[in-house]
């Protein structure tokens, strides 16, 4: 058990190392001369040289990488060219939008998916199962940003219940904030819920074929209890795997939904940085988001240990 955790921990650190190398290679090495890229055709050779010096681009690549990594580990991701503010502070300032949006979408995904998945499995090869599968097949086909547009069309343009976008911050109260994030969270969660319904259904169906389920039924355990207690608990491991991977997808998907609903989150920060050729900001945001996704995958690994006693007693 302890060896297992140590191994997973070491793999996690190694993975983060590769993440940082990939970001460094793409942003610092691929462009050839980032200073020229930032200045564009406007910069005089002297100005480009000064910027190159200021960014430390004249040093060997290995030294640049270690220096950058060392700073990043201390939370220093450089200074945004566009805003002239530390990148780390900019990222933190956008989290109150992106994190609640992702969390709400995840909550919606789980609340919608688990009951429907269980229901479909319980009604295996009957009308309810087929109907759920058809609905989830449609859900998987609809891109989140299109369902976002359709939700705006229905709830904002036609019914006028919710606004079509924008976010005033949490200063107006929790309810006002949640209301602004409701439609994007539903649009974002809908697609992943459709995926999770199918995963839950097939995991529960697999478990229902096991001997101990037959035993439970044979000794007269009620069907609700068989599915809710015996089947769901054992089906949780594959379901948690899928849901954990989906959290990363939700975080990445929030970049698109922030654009649809004009929300001032991480995604719009990064998109604005591209237009302004703000390389330190793009570098900081991608490093941050990729690290979070790798962290989520690591936490899923740890969740196995908590859920499955067989791994715990290895």
């Amino acid at each position: 058990m302890r060896r297992h955790l140590l191994r997973r921990g070491a793999a996690f650190v190694a993975t983060l190392f590769f993440v940082s190398v990939l970001v460094f290679i793409v942003i610092r090495v691929l462009p050839g001369d980032p200073a020229q890229l930032i200045m564009g055709t406007e910069g005089s050779p002297e100005a480009v040289a000064r910027l190159r010096d200021a960014l430390g681009l004249n040093r060997p690549l290995g030294v640049q990488y270690l220096d950058w990594l060392g700073r990043a580990l201390r939370g220093d991701l450089g200074v945004s060219i566009q805003y002239d503010v530390p990148v780390g502070r900019l990222i933190v300032s956008r989290l109150p939008v992106t994190l609640p949006l992702t969390a709400m979408a995840a909550a919606f995904m789980i609340v919608a998916a688990i009951p429907f998945g269980l229901y479909a499995a319980a009604r295996h090869r009957r009308a309810g199962d087929y109907l759920t599968m058809v609905l989830s097949q449609i859900g998987i086909a609809v891109p989140a940003f299109w369902s976002g547009l359709l939700l705006i069309l229905l709830f904002s343009v036609h019914l006028g219940w919710l606004r079509s976008g924008g976010f005033d911050g949490w200063g107006q109260g929790v309810w006002a904030g949640l209301r602004s994030l409701l439609l994007p969270a539903v649009a974002l969660g809908l697609f992943q819920a459709a995926v999770l319904i199918r995963a839950t259904r097939s995991a529960v169906l697999d478990v229902l074929r096991e001997e101990y389920v037959r035993t439970a039924r044979a000794k007269g355990v009620a069907e609700v209890s068989v599915i809710g207690k015996h089947a769901l608990r054992n089906a949780l491991i594959p379901v948690v795997t899928v849901a954990g991977i989906q959290l990363g997808h939700l975080l990445a998907g929030s970049i698109v939904l922030e654009s649809v609903f004009a929300l001032p989150g991480l995604g719009r920060l990064a998109l604005g940085a591209i237009a302004a050729r703000d390389l330190p900001l793009v570098q900081g945001v991608t490093l941050f988001v990729a690290s979070i996704i790798v962290l989520l995958n690591f936490l899923v690994d740890l969740a196995y240990v908590a859920l499955d006693p067989r791994i715990r007693h290895e």
Binding site: V19, I140, A252, V260
Partner: protein, 272 residues
């Protein structure tokens, strides 16, 4: 066609929708109801009419023609992105699964790291350095597919290299390359084909999202995602503008998903 596949409802429905998509893309190269790039200021933002069955956009361009042409870039991105993901992934998986030991460990951590970069994130990085465009979205989506193909191939190698027929071939003096090329790789083909089919609709969705964000296909070339971006500005004036490009994406993805599900059933030896 094999009688078992013609009886498979999911597979046949997927095949029919996919055939319709391919036929539309092929037809759009030869003929569209109107010039997809021709503007007509007098006919802006029209609702569907017999002359424009899907209506017109903010420049009076025929939406049906633009949706038809948009099918081409969706298919192109799908094919190339899946090609990049499959070739790189199978290569990494082969090397990793065959060599084993610490190089295997290293490759797998690299693959874990690549998993931290969904297509949107890589596209953001590439767009900051190169000009946004179709090429960037193909590469970004392709890279996002690498981990799945690499893990799949590596897994197959790990099981297959212990199997009797491989051990026997080795005992008979077959070289490493022959073992890989003749005995192991062909046996990993079926899962790789299934993975490729299920990746295709994901690529179509990702391309649409990237085009919507302005990181993919650039105007005035028609792309479904880009059309939705434009439609958003006119939601209250012309709601139908936002319906048809989105429906095209959904129908395409539905067809490809059904095809992939059907193929997985048909290729799975356990259900044969």
């Amino acid at each position: 066609m094999h009688p078992r596949s013609t009886r498979h409802l999911t597979f046949m429905a997927g095949l029919a929708i996919t055939a319709l998509l391919l036929a539309t893309a092929a037809l759009s190269a030869l003929w569209t109801p109107a010039d997809p790039l021709a503007m007509s200021i007098g006919a802006r933002l029209q609702s569907p009419t017999p002359a424009h069955p899907f209506g017109t956009d903010q420049y009076g361009r025929d939406i049906l023609s633009r949706v038809m042409v948009g099918a081409v870039s969706s298919i192109a991105v799908g094919v190339i992105a899946v090609g990049i993901g499959a070739s790189l992934g199978v290569l990494i998986g082969t090397v990793s699964g065959w060599i084993g030991g610490w190089p295997d460990e290293g490759f797998m951590r690299l693959v874990d790291a690549v998993q931290g970069f969904p297509a949107i994130l890589s596209a953001l990085m590439f767009a900051a350095i190169f000009a946004p465009g179709l090429g960037i979205s193909m590469v970004a989506i392709g890279i996002a597919f690498v981990p799945a193909f690499a893990r799949l191939t590596r897994g197959s190698f790990l099981t297959l290299r212990e199997r009797e027929f491989v051990v026997a071939a080795r005992a008979l003096g077959a070289g490493e390359l022959r073992l890989i090329g003749r005995h192991i790789l062909p046996n990993t083909l079926a899962p790789v084909v299934v993975q490729a089919t299920t990746s295709f609709p994901v690529a179509v969705l990702a391309e649409a999202a990237l085009a919507y964000l302005g990181l993919g296909t650039q105007p005035p070339h028609p792309s479904w995602g880009l059309m939705l971006k434009e439609a958003q500005n006119f939601l209250s004036l012309s709601p139908t503008f936002a319906v048809f490009p989105g429906a095209a994406i959904a129908l395409t993805v539905l067809g490809l998903n059904l095809l992939g599900d059907g193929l997985r059933d048909l290729l799975d030896p356990r259900t044969a």
